[in-house]
Subunit: 155 residues, 2 copies
DNA sequence: TTTCATGTAACTTCATATGTTTCGTGAGTG
DNA sequence: CACTCACGAAACATATGAAGTTACATGAAA
């Protein structure tokens, strides 16, 4: 299965934004992500609706963070993305008439459900602030203190 | 993401086969699953290679179980299918140069890895015999003792 | 008024599970 | 031997959804 990387992508964007005081344009973010500005706007739309980020048009416009990073978890971001599927597998049929399939669905369904809950719980444990702090630790270990996207990506 | 239902499908097939003493043809199984015989052969190929089932050509041929159901777990079946992706999400890039992305990957990657291990562990706890037993419990609760696919599916 | 940047719709591309057709091979039947 | 049955495998079609792209409208700042 092709894997959905929106969560990974949006976190990458957010952490970069956190390093900037001024709004960052979709185009700048897109370059850092080697993708298209429209893709950035698309994955940011949900976060804007939740008030986690804000966007401004015109000169000096772009995206900026509009929340306390220590209060937002990966789980919140996941929900802002619209709760995309976590698992690549699922039951063949829901509510089957076949008793055999009911047994299979019961066993697999419970395992799937628990695994999703497990993953969401993990997401809930990690705040954006924690991720940002981890990034700063890595940067110090590298001995640098770059302030802009280009430097971070060039490192 | 569209979900992979091969594991669900192959378990359904196996449990049906367990109810038969004689080989069951791909066509019969396909009808029960509302799919194509070729699809059945495709998902069964891995199990045959592992020796879990065997196939015979010609008159009276078809598929039959070639192992002790109590010794095979859902995890074994999963491996026989070729270890398809369990998660619908993944990191945007592996081994990124960007330190921000390294932090994101580390956090998400660990959560993904643990969730996969969790799910595989669950699979390992359930044997085919347990699934079959659950099916028989459901059948008794329904008050019937059907011996063939058609009856089971018609119920 | 010009430029910049987002908002949105529509389209293309790509990967992959699933479905289908076709032909070959071997096993049992008459 | 000829026929039928059933699997094996390749080739092709279909469907879904993420990701990438293009085009145009809207609004803000210079």
């Amino acid at each position: 299965m092709k894997r959905d990387s929106r969560l990974s992508g949006v976190l990458h964007v957010l952490l970069h934004m956190a390093e900037h005081r001024h709004p960052v344009t979709s185009e700048t973010l897109a370059k850092a992500m080697t993708t298209n500005p429209v893709v950035i706007r698309r994955i940011m739309a949900g976060l804007r609706d939740q008030g986690y980020v804000q966007s401004e048009k015109g000169h000096g416009g772009g995206w900026s963070i509009a929340c306390d990073l220590s209060k937002i978890s990966l789980r919140d971001i996941y929900h802002a993305l619209g709760n995309p599927s976590l698992l690549a597998m699922g039951n063949r049929t829901e509510a089957p008439g076949c008793l055999v399939e009911q047994s299979v669905n019961a066993a697999l369904g419970k395992a799937f459900e628990d695994a999703e809950a497990f993953l969401l719980a993990r997401f809930g444990e990690v705040t954006l602030a924690a991720l940002s702090a981890d990034f700063h630790r890595r940067m110090l270990a590298r001995g640098g203190t770059p302030q802009d996207l280009e430097t971070i990506h060039a490192s």
